[in-house]
């Protein structure tokens, strides 16, 4: 990946993280969390497993940790774990239909939200939030591939 592409993706992830934070402010009343950043990473990793590797995931994760002011390494660990899972199941996921892939990534998102909640909202962990995040991720992932193609078309990953 070229440096310009690298910087572009960093900024893109920070913007998506900001959007997530702003959107969550309104959605939280309905126990729904937006995870565009995470789904976008899943999509990129699934489409370009050679270029979106674990080091890139860790780098983006650390940036988002700083941006969201949460425990340093929280997003980095979960992003790396996701990349690891996608890489290990790459050929299996490739055989899935789009619908099945969406369900798989929605499951990943539910686990991501669950792990995050365990560390960030220890005293007020809500299963409903984790449960509903599956559906919100399912809906969100409907737009992620087109958004990803549109945004990463220029940088040619």
């Amino acid at each position: 990946m070229r440096v310009s592409g690298f910087i572009f993706l960093t900024i893109l992830f920070l913007i998506l993280s900001s959007i997530d934070m702003k959107v969550n402010l309104f959605l939280l009343d309905f126990f729904i969390v937006s995870n565009l950043t995470y789904l976008f990473l899943c999509y990129l990793c699934f489409m370009n497993p050679q270029k979106i590797n674990s080091i890139f995931a860790a780098y983006i994760g650390f940036f988002i940790d700083l941006h969201q002011n949460v425990f340093f390494g929280l997003h980095a660990t979960l992003f790396t774990l996701t990349v690891l899972l996608i890489n290990y199941n790459y050929f299996r996921l490739r055989m899935f239909s789009t619908f099945q892939t969406t369900i798989a990534f929605s499951f990943f998102t539910a686990f991501f939200v669950g792990f995050k909640s365990i560390l960030l909202t220890t005293m007020n962990f809500q299963y409903l939030l984790v449960f509903l995040s599956f559906f919100s991720a399912f809906v969100s992932y409907l737009i992620i591939p087109s958004l990803g193609k549109l945004l990463t078309n220029k940088i040619k990953l």
Partner: protein, 273 residues
């Protein structure tokens, strides 16, 4: 063993994950990377303030001046800020007797002495995290450039909202009463004492009471005051009322206390120096 895509290294994947996990554990357990986060926050806030004051605001105000609405908006803003400041001062004046009982405050002559109340403005408050998570923090900018030490009481017009944490000369952090890691000694009118912790929910703190130690009775909406035992918060300030009484076990109850002061109600706060 699962096949990986071309040119992917199994060692790289696992080692990166392990390192990230280790960093997360170190930060979670020892707060080792707090300075890094503070540096990032300070830098981003500086950039935000700089870009807002020197880039965005001039452009914005020049556009507004065309329709001559800027003056009216600024006036409203100034009046609102002044009102916030006055409300904070009023709060201090109305609680003067209580505050004067505490040896660490001397505001007996508010008009003639230099009031030990430092106004500070919010520069960053993650409302999202305040509503969703356990960590309730905000960053304030003192109106006069001065170093605000840690453990200073931060108030707004409704009451105590938390205490300060020193960062640098231009910025300090406030840990709110509802933050999970914050504790405040409290009491009620019947001389019942307890150390309440933040519940991680906006405007809520809790206190676990062992009923075997003493006979105490609680009722909903019973007023709760600061006991002043920690030496940080003044004694006798009303901080909230009992919102819920939960039975944890036959011999233990949890009091959920709703705080009076809402940190979202204003942009101005006062630090009792």
């Amino acid at each position: 063993m699962a096949r990986l895509p071309d040119r992917s290294s199994r060692f790289l994947l696992i080692s990166t994950f392990t390192i990230c996990l280790l960093i997360l554990f170190i930060d979670f357990r020892f707060n080792t990377f707090k300075p890094v986060q503070n540096f990032y926050n300070s830098s981003s806030l500086f950039i935000q303030i700089f870009s807002k004051d020197f880039i965005a605001s001039p452009i914005y105000s020049s556009i507004l001046s065309i329709w001559d609405t800027k003056r009216a908006k600024d006036e409203i803003q100034v009046l609102k800020e002044e009102l916030d400041k006055q409300l904070i001062k009023n709060y201090v004046i109305s609680n003067k007797e209580i505050l004067n009982r505490n040896f660490f405050f001397d505001i007996s002559n508010l008009e003639n002495t230099n009031l030990a109340l430092l106004p500070a403005k919010v520069v960053s408050f993650d409302v999202n995290k305040y509503r969703c998570c356990d960590k309730h923090r905000m960053f304030l900018l003192p109106e006069v450039s001065t170093l605000v030490d840690s453990f200073k009481v931060v108030i707004n017009s409704e009451g105590i909202i938390g205490q300060s944490i020193k960062i640098n000369r231009n910025l300090f952090e406030v840990i709110l009463l509802s933050d999970k890691s914050h504790k405040i000694p409290i009491q009620n009118e019947n001389e019942f004492y307890c150390e309440a912790s933040g519940l991680g929910i906006p405007k809520k703190i809790f206190c676990d009471v062992d009923l075997t130690l003493e006979e105490t009775s609680f009722e909903l909406d019973q007023q709760i005051f600061s006991s002043g035992l920690g030496g940080i918060f003044p004694k006798g300030i009303e901080i909230g009322s009992i919102y819920e009484i939960q039975d944890i076990s036959p011999k233990e109850v949890r009091l959920i206390i709703e705080l009076n002061a809402n940190p979202l109600s204003s942009n101005y706060f006062g630090v009792l120096q």
